[in-house]
């Protein structure tokens, strides 16, 4: 059996228990630098309207950012690329930097409520993926979680074909009109309690497509989203971070 002898001479990542070098080697997000001052051209440089002004400083919404890096190239002293892969959040507002309002208290409440719902998911967790109008890249990055590098089975995470057995709905895409009904049917078929994860900037806000005649600006009007994973697409590490956040396996609860 030649394949059996070949095996897998590859190293599975130790993430999240130990940091992964590769995880920090590409552009996972873009953020305003502390002390950055607002300039009127900043709004124009962003293709998705992710950058707005707030008390004389630029504010960046990761939920709209497609990580094109254009703001960094144009205003290198105001924005920087961020390699940290832990980009997911439990509150939509927490994706905005600097924050819209004090999110700490709300975050604590949300986390406690989520913890009650996922309490029974100690060992193994089943995920149902639904594509609600993605560009196809999110599916590659989700599928990568099964490759030997990320190998999420080691964390007790599995994908399931049946919504009845799903603990997590992992939803991608800008909310295409044609998927609204299938999405509703999937939600109705899923046994409560379950957690909804919006995977990717498209799922959060519609991304570059935003709202159009055929897209609903993401899936959050259709579904009560619990975890938000920005990125266009988010990398497998960011998706994994979002899933672990959903399961309360990250004590600190993600980025500010």
């Amino acid at each position: 059996m030649p394949w059996a002898t070949r095996g897998l001479r590859v190293v599975t990542t130790g993430y999240p228990h130990t940091p992964d070098d590769y995880g920090g080697s590409f552009r996972a997000a873009v953020s305003p630098l502390p002390g950055a001052r607002w300039e009127p051209d900043m709004a124009q440089v962003c293709p998705t309207g992710a950058i707005t002004e707030h008390d004389g400083v630029p504010r960046l919404d990761h939920g709209r950012c497609i990580v094109c890096g254009r703001c960094v190239r144009r205003f290198p002293r105001a924005f920087r690329s961020d390699a940290a892969v832990e980009t997911a959040a439990l509150l939509r507002d927490a994706l905005v930097v600097p924050p819209l309002r004090e999110t700490d208290e709300a975050l604590a409440r949300v986390r406690a409520a989520l913890a009650r719902r996922v309490r029974r998911l100690r060992r193994s967790v089943h995920i149902r993926h639904v594509d609600a109008g993605s560009d196809g890249t999110e599916e590659w990055e989700i599928a990568a979680l099964l490759n030997p590098v990320y190998d999420v089975h080691r964390l007790g995470i599995f994908f399931t074909a049946s919504p009845r057995h799903a603990d997590i709905l992992l939803v991608t895409g800008a909310g295409s009109a044609g998927m609204l009904r299938p999405l509703r049917i999937t939600v109705e078929a899923t046994a409560a309690p379950f957690v909804v994860v919006a995977c990717g900037t498209d799922a959060i806000s519609g991304g570059l497509l935003g709202r159009g005649y055929a897209t609903r600006g993401g899936v959050s009007e259709e579904l009560a989203v619990d975890v938000w994973i920005p990125g266009s697409p988010p990398s497998p590490f960011s998706i994994l971070h979002g899933l672990l956040l959903a399961l309360g396996r990250f004590p600190k609860g993600g980025p500010a």
Binding site: W3, S25, C68, D131, G133, S134, G173, R181, G207, T215
Partner: protein, 494 residues
């Protein structure tokens, strides 16, 4: 480059249909049929490819109908359905079942290119035909929400016992209105959207879009930039071909091979990320060239490509010796060379059925025009096995070419980018050979902004060949046939 495109304005759709049919009868291939934008009147546009030339025939549409082309050129059928879905303009004399946007009779159509601002649509499944099946046959729906991590698409599989009698494809679920979404954007924003038309071929779509813009602007990408585009495009091709191999191994339950090829694919994406900052090479190809020099030293890039090529090739040799696996592919999902030629099949689907079309050679663009394009990997059997052999051959070629591109880019002159002049106007067409085959972009620019844009993916063009490939295949062949086509639903329902 623009010399390869010839514009032929005609007075009526009748003339257009007659000329296209005559050219196809002489051996040309229908590359696209669509309605191009003009605020005043829609123009029926056909792209006809013959050897090194792409002819664009246009005719004003004065009525809500035009004579159908598909009875003469069957490859036009899905285009006619898409035109009806988007514009409400009908090809007369044929049945136009909804394909990419099922809307009830009389509903407002989005009409991309017309300057309209359509209200949100509600796709209506009741407008789709009900497939009545005979005694002893069943229709199984696969999708739209599918088991496993797949893009949304629905297949209705009519079968009698094990044998598949017919397949219907319903891709409309993820229609996102992308053509309309291009309108009014700046040239620079447009490329970011092109990357999201069919995300797994971000680089190819960006190159095709930029090629159109550069043609309209009359600029030429400098050497170094042109070679870097080849580098990223070939790595993208490698990743996509590996993805197909992974899915075939998965269908066969070949766990170790599956894991190993998935790891190779991951390595390609990591290399792209190291070079460009994005695992899909996004925000890298820009009008005029590429955004910047690679973030990885050429010597490191060359070393990593070399290691990858060696590792991939060892596993490919083993895979192509694994009889139990190849057994599932031999004679499975056959597209005959005649069918492929008549349809103008693109990419590996075409090359697996002896159709040599590859725009890196037939209408060579960028650095491919400098002798870089590899010989087409042609096979004649037209089955899933032939398509696999095309892909493993191209995988080897892609990595070799990526390695050459690293060297050439290092030596190349002229920088990575030229400025696009401000306020470009005009109409132009651009293309690229994506991993799935020829991608076309037809754009109209007005004062530096996009007036209209019609992207045509190879996934869309090849789609009708998928149902045609089920010839006595059984249910357990389904996953192999689907994977061997390697279509991206996002690219299908633009």
């Amino acid at each position: 480059m623009s010399a390869a495109v010839r514009i032929e304005p005609l007075d009526t759709p009748e003339a257009l249909v007659a000329i296209v049919a005559a050219r196809v009868a002489e051996g040309a291939r229908l590359a696209a049929l669509f309605v191009a934008g003009s605020s005043r009147r829609p123009m029926l546009t056909a792209a006809v490819a013959a050897r090194a030339e792409l002819a664009l025939l246009t005719a004003p549409l004065e009525a809500a109908a035009y004579p159908a082309l598909s009875p003469l050129v069957p490859a036009a059928a899905y285009y006619e359905r898409a035109i009806h879905d988007l514009h409400g303009i009908a090809a007369s004399g044929v049945v136009l079942n909804p394909l990419i946007l099922p809307l009830p009779e009389g509903a407002e159509r989005p009409r991309p290119g017309s300057g309209s601002s359509p209200a949100p649509v509600e796709p209506d499944e009741h407008t789709l035909p009900v497939h009545v099946t005979g005694e002893g046959t069943f229709t199984l729906p696969y999708g739209p929400v599918r088991s496993g991590v797949f893009e949304t698409i629905e297949y209705l599989v009519e079968n009698a016992g094990e044998e598949i009698l017919h397949l219907w494809v319903r891709p409309f679920y993820k229609h996102r209105g992308v053509a309309k979404a291009f309108e009014h954007r700046t040239i620079d924003d447009g490329v970011l959207l092109a990357e999201r038309v069919e995300g797994v071929a971000s680089v190819a779509h960006a190159v095709a879009y930029c090629h159109a813009v550069e043609t309209a602007a009359g600029i030429e990408v400098p050497q170094q930039g042109a070679w870097l585009r080849v580098l990223y495009a070939e790595l993208e091709r490698a990743a996509n071909h590996l993805d197909v191999i992974v899915r075939l191994c998965e269908a066969a339950g070949l766990a170790v091979a599956n894991a190993r090829f998935a790891w190779h694919k991951e390595r390609v994406l990591r290399l792209l990320a190291a070079l460009t900052g994005s695992r899909f090479g996004r925000a890298t190809v820009v009008p005029g060239g590429v955004a910047g020099a690679p973030q990885l030293a050429p010597s490191d890039a060359a070393r990593r490509i070399g290691e990858l090529a060696a590792a991939v090739s060892a596993d490919v040799i083993e895979l192509m010796r694994t009889e139990s696996f190849l057994d599932r592919l031999w004679g499975t999902g056959v597209v005959t060379p005649e069918e492929a030629r008549a349809h103008g099949a693109l990419g590996p689907v075409g090359r697996g059925s002896a159709v040599a079309e590859d725009v890196r050679r037939t209408r060579a663009y960028g650095a491919y025009a400098w002798g870089a394009a590899p010989e087409p990997r042609l096979h004649h059997d037209g089955d899933a096995h032939a398509r696999l052999r095309v892909r493993v051959g191209e995988l080897e070629d892609a990595l070799a070419l990526a390695s050459q591109a690293v060297d050439e880019a290092r030596a190349g002159r002229g920088g990575v980018r030229v400025e696009v002049p401000e306020g470009v106007s005009g109409r132009a067409c651009g293309w690229a050979e994506a991993p799935h085959g020829e991608v076309l972009y037809f754009i109209g620019l007005e004062d530096g902004r996009i007036h209209d844009c019609y992207p045509r993916s190879a996934s869309f063009h090849n789609l009708p060949l998928l149902p045609a490939a089920f010839k006595g295949d059984v249910l357990t062949d389904f996953a192999f046939i689907e994977a061997s086509f390697g279509l991206s639903p996002a690219g299908v329902v633009v």
